[in-house]
């Protein structure tokens, strides 16, 4: 694909006003699929979680997953939506091999949730309220793998494999109204909005919310309106942008690309576009016109969903504290500076830090360990920090440091032991024999030996050149295999050097 001309970002904003819209697909973490009893599991053997219904076999019929309805209602409520008293599924008809029935069972004019609002806070402190048009339920498609060909796309492939394990997995699609006035913040609005959705579904527990596994997928609509015009520009829809950073980059890229094209007298094609993580560009997908005809009609194999008002209120009572409010509360409780708190949030460690503090650690120590050594080890292992070690273990580790049983350096070794499965921090300390030597007697023996071995250093110390003590401290620490508190060793070295009467000579 050829690289498009891009206009300088500031110039683009001078000439055009970006208008945004987002469709976020959230995969629900129900036990079974949306319309059948097959397991909703990631990473199983191809086509093992299938049945006549989700394979679209002749005679197969759908049954609605009650848990998916409940999750959808809770999500709708968390987005400030109204919940429909009467909601129906509809068939969206189109032929594609990943869609077993050759129609998607979705919702059309009668979604379960509609008219919501979500206020997000940008890094500058700017608050942006995103209007939610609707949140509707649907089933996911299977997964196609195109074999052969250069691009891994269906075009040019020798053949394609279909895995229907994902086919029929419950999705909620959250559709925003047009977002105007984003201006230069538009890319950040995209990232922050998707992050907020992700945070909400995670807090609700309705989705595993892992973008890298496709649990949350974003389609970003971008169009440009020339300054001074009130006519909307033609939009593009960049599909399946699957990381927060990519949402930001893709929006920015489309603004720059479309601006350059429009400025050169070109026109924007209404189309889907693919985001390329590696090259950081979008490329044309398939044309998408408003006249695309999916021949929607009410799904005759399903009865309407009519949640009672009592049930909706019961579910409303189960909603957790809104993530944004929770963030504000926790930052105040913990007394973190903005940057410190951002570091925790961006590393997705708020829950872990909170649990660690709850287990008795100080806020600063919890933050320091999670965003420091634990995050570093997780990065090396290529996993998320909170999957590496439990918060109560980190709290126990911190307690040992506070008690003086471990130095930071020793504690890092103990953490490795805990991660290796050697037991609790205390067990690792015992198993590896890593506790700080706090017995002055043992230290004094070692110090006296070191002073005796380095008489010139001893002389310097006695001459008042205290910095010379470093060499002796190093030797003592080495002799103690690191298991000594360096500050105490220094104190004792100075003490012994001062009190030494030369008997060592």
């Amino acid at each position: 694909m050829k690289k498009a001309e891009l206009m300088d970002y500031d110039k683009a904003l001078e000439l055009f006003e970006p208008v945004l819209g987002f469709e976020v697909h959230v995969e629900l973490n129900t036990k079974t699929k949306m319309f059948c009893g097959c397991a909703n599991e990631f990473g199983q053997g191809a086509n093992t979680n299938t049945c006549p219904t989700c394979l679209g076999l002749p005679g197969g019929l759908p049954q609605v997953n009650a848990q998916a309805i409940e999750s959808s209602i809770r999500l709708g409520l968390a987005l400030g939506c109204e919940i429909a008293e009467y909601s129906r599924f509809a068939r969206k008809n189109y032929f594609y091999p990943d869609t077993a029935k050759n129609f998607q069972t979705s919702q059309y004019d009668e979604p379960i949730a509609f008219n919501g609002q979500l206020t997000i806070e940008l890094e500058s402190g700017r608050l942006v309220t995103v209007d939610i048009e609707r949140a509707h339920m649907e089933d996911d498609a299977g997964k196609l793998t195109h074999v052969g060909g250069a691009t891994g796309r269906i075009q040019g492939a020798d053949y394609s494999l279909v895995d229907y394990n994902r086919g029929g997995v419950p999705l909620v699609e959250i559709v925003t109204q047009m977002i105007e006035g984003g201006e230069a913040d538009s890319p950040e609005i995209g990232r922050t909005y998707v992050a907020a959705i992700r945070e909400i579904v995670k807090a609700l527990g309705v989705s595993n919310a892992r973008m890298e596994e496709g649990n949350v997928r974003c389609d970003a609509n971008v169009s440009l309106r020339p300054r001074g015009s009130n006519i909307l520009g033609t939009r593009t829809e960049t599909k399946n942008v699957n990381s927060l950073r990519s949402v930001e980059k893709a929006v920015r890229y489309e603004i720059q690309r479309q601006a350059a094209l429009l400025q050169a007298g070109g026109t924007i094609t209404q189309e889907t576009r693919h985001w390329h993580e590696d090259t950081g560009i979008t490329s044309a997908g398939r044309p998408k016109s408003d006249a695309d005809d999916y021949r929607y009609f009410p799904e005759p194999d399903l009865v309407p969903v009519a949640p009672s008002r009592e049930w909706v209120e019961e579910l409303r009572a189960t909603l957790p504290e809104p993530p944004a409010a929770r963030r504000k509360r926790l930052q105040a409780d913990w007394g973190f500076a903005d940057l410190e708190f951002q570091d925790v949030v961006n590393s997705d460690l708020m829950d872990a830090v909170e649990a660690t503090i709850a287990a008795g650690a100080s806020a600063q120590a919890a933050r320091k360990w999670w965003t420091g050594e634990v995050a570093r080890l997780a990065n090396v292992a290529g996993v998320s920090a909170d999957s590496l070690v439990q918060p109560d273990q980190v709290a126990a580790l911190i307690e040992l440091v506070v008690a003086g049983t471990l130095t930071d350096r020793l504690a890092r070794q103990v953490l490795e032991g805990v991660i290796n499965g050697e037991g609790t921090p205390l067990e690792v300390v015992e198993f590896r024999g890593l506790a700080v030597v706090s017995d002055d007697g043992a230290l004094i023996v070692a110090i006296d030996e070191a002073l005796a071995a380095q008489p010139d250093v001893l002389a310097k110390i006695r001459d008042g050149k205290v910095q010379a003590a470093g060499a002796v401290i190093g030797a003592v620490m080495k002799a103690m295999r690191g298991q000594a508190d360096a500050a105490r060793v220094r104190e004792l070295v100075l003490e012994r050097a001062g009190s030494a009467d030369g008997s060592a000579e």
């Binding site: 006549p52 394979l55 679209g56 076999l57 002749p58 005679g59 197969g60 019929l61 759908p62 049954q63 609605v64 068939r91 008809n93 032929f95 091999p97 077993a100 029935k101 050759n102 129609f103 269906i154 394609s160 279909v162 006249a291 005809d293 021949r295 929607y296 009609f297 005759p300 194999d301 399903l302 009865v303």
Partner: protein, 515 residues
């Protein structure tokens, strides 16, 4: 020994229960009769001889061991090819599913097996149940046992012909706009379309989801009721399945056999479903039946259903719309035949198109095109939307009528069996044949067809349709059994006893080939 193929299921049940006959004997007699005559009738697309005999032997062994068995255990049954069966091909009469053996049983098939019935094989039908004559079967038509030059009705002509030619005492059918009742009428058998949601559709290859209903095809009302009791009731796999608990249909049918069962029954005659366009002999037998009913103490009331006039138009929008979507899955990707285009690149889209072009017959294509058009943006409100409104009006017509009467009656079909080819070039003429049966599907109410005599002009069977309010299937069986007894008493015999005796494959040389 009596010829067991001539016995009803209720009679066989007694003989099997007191062990004066074995299921293997009954099953073998039917299989032999199939072998003798079905080359000519062509009711079956697949006969499972070995499996049927093995199943029959198992049932006999269980009976010998003293197992508690249901009333229909050990009795053979024919299954319409629209129903998914684990051990037999299920093609819905279409080339596109040639040889396809599903990995599962339809719920009704599972219930039939669990009740100990013996599946004999799969019966012929119009492709995907689209048709009124079986002429649209991809595997050749079924012949009417009363006259091999005539259609057996459709889409379920195979099941009706199998039952009326004594190849099976019982059969399963499906009825979207009359596919159980019209074949029953033109073959002199009994067919019931239950209340929508009364019988599971899971595993029934869908034509139009909001209209389809599986039901019994038999020779007597009591047999239909016995089979209904086996297949009916809630199925969690079908979201449109009613959760109601149902009374015994067999008990209702037996209650209908009591003396005076018709006394005081208010019978509504639908003004719009008689007269113009109805064959003279059909109207004549209908009028005579009403007179007998009146004499038996029933109260005959004329009722009007003014919106029935629009039923066919609405039906032929709703059905193709739903069918166009239901049939989208036939794309060669997961099952069925695959046909590559003759030339050009092999893209998935082009392979799908070539497969559907080669796999679907002309009527299926016609209805997919109609339905795709009716659902298109800009046309939806005018076509599908309007048709749904008509449907509501027809439901109201039924509701209004049932405030005045207990059951509604009409001829089951406007004519007796027509000749092959007669309506093939004129789809509208074929569609109009369903004028009597379609309203029940649009409203979801139960309907039954039972024989009410032979038309004087052609000597062919005429059917009486009875309809009851939704969920009142039991009333249908009670009144149906009473009318059946009344008519047979007036004739002095059953209607099917007048059917020509079919000699082993000697009526003509079949051009269709053996199954």
């Amino acid at each position: 020994m009596t010829n067991v193929t001539k016995l009803t299921a209720a009679e066989l049940s007694e003989l099997l229960t007191d062990r004066s006959v074995s299921s293997v004997e009954v099953t073998r007699a039917h299989l032999d009769h199939i072998a003798a005559i079905d080359t000519d009738v062509h009711a079956f697309l697949h006969v499972a001889r070995d499996a049927a005999l093995a199943t029959a032997a198992r049932i006999d062994a269980r009976r010998a061991a003293g197992d508690e068995l249901g009333p229909l255990a050990g009795i053979p049954i024919a299954i319409k090819d629209v129903l998914a069966t684990l051990d037999m091909p299920s093609t819905a009469g279409s080339k596109i599913l040639e040889g396809w053996i599903p990995p599962y049983d339809a719920t009704v098939v599972k219930r039939v097996r669990d009740a100990g019935l013996i599946p004999l094989g799969k019966t012929n039908m119009d492709e995907f149940a689209m048709g009124s004559s079986t002429e649209f079967s991809a595997y050749g038509p079924t012949h009417n046992p009363w006259d091999f030059d005539r259609i057996p009705g459709g889409s379920g002509g195979g099941s009706a012909a199998a039952v009326s030619s004594f190849q099976a005492p019982l059969a399963l059918g499906s009825d979207t706009g009359g596919s159980i009742r019209q074949p029953a009428a033109v073959t002199g058998s009994v067919g019931v379309k239950p209340t929508y949601g009364g019988v599971s559709r899971y595993g029934s290859i869908a034509l139009a989801s909001s209209l389809d209903q599986v039901g019994p095809v038999t020779r007597t009302v009591l047999d239909a009721a016995l089979l209904h009791d086996v297949i009916g009731g809630h199925d969690p796999l079908d979201s449109t399945s009613l959760t109601d608990s149902w009374p015994s249909m067999a008990a209702a049918a037996r209650a209908g056999l009591a003396d005076g069962a018709l006394k005081g029954v208010r019978v509504g005659v639908i003004k719009e479903l008689n007269g113009d366009g109805f064959q003279a002999g059909v109207s004549q037998r209908f009028t005579e039946t009403l007179a007998l009913l009146s004499a038996a103490g029933a109260e005959i009331v004329e009722v009007s259903a003014p919106n029935f006039e629009y039923a066919i138009a609405a039906y032929y929008l709703i059905l193709p719309a739903e069918a166009s979507s239901n049939l989208a899955r036939f794309d060669s990707v997961r099952f069925g035949i695959r046909v590559n285009p003759d030339e050009g690149p092999l893209t998935s889209e082009r392979v799908m198109a070539a497969t559907r072009d080669a796999g679907f017959g002309p009527e299926v294509k016609r209805r997919i095109i109609l339905g795709t058009y009716a659902l298109s943006a800009g046309y939806y409100d005018a076509y599908y939307g309007s048709a749904q409104k008509v449907r509501t009006l027809i439901q109201r017509d039924f509701e209004a009528a049932f405030t005045k009467v207990d059951v509604l009656v009409s001829p089951s079909a406007p004519t007796t069996a027509f000749k092959f080819g007669e309506k093939m070039s004129d789809p509208m003429a074929m569609y109009l044949n369903d004028v009597t049966t379609i309203p029940a599907n649009l409203a979801g109410v139960p309907g039954m067809s039972l024989p009410m005599g032979l038309a004087p002009e052609d000597g062919l069977p005429v059917g009486l349709q009875i309809m009851a309010p939704a969920k009142q299937d039991a009333r249908l069986y009670q009144v149906g059994a009473a009318i059946e007894a009344m008519l047979e008493a007036s004739w002095g015999h059953t209607l099917l006893s007048q059917a020509p005796e079919l000699a082993p494959n000697d009526m003509f040389t079949s051009t269709e080939g053996a199954v």
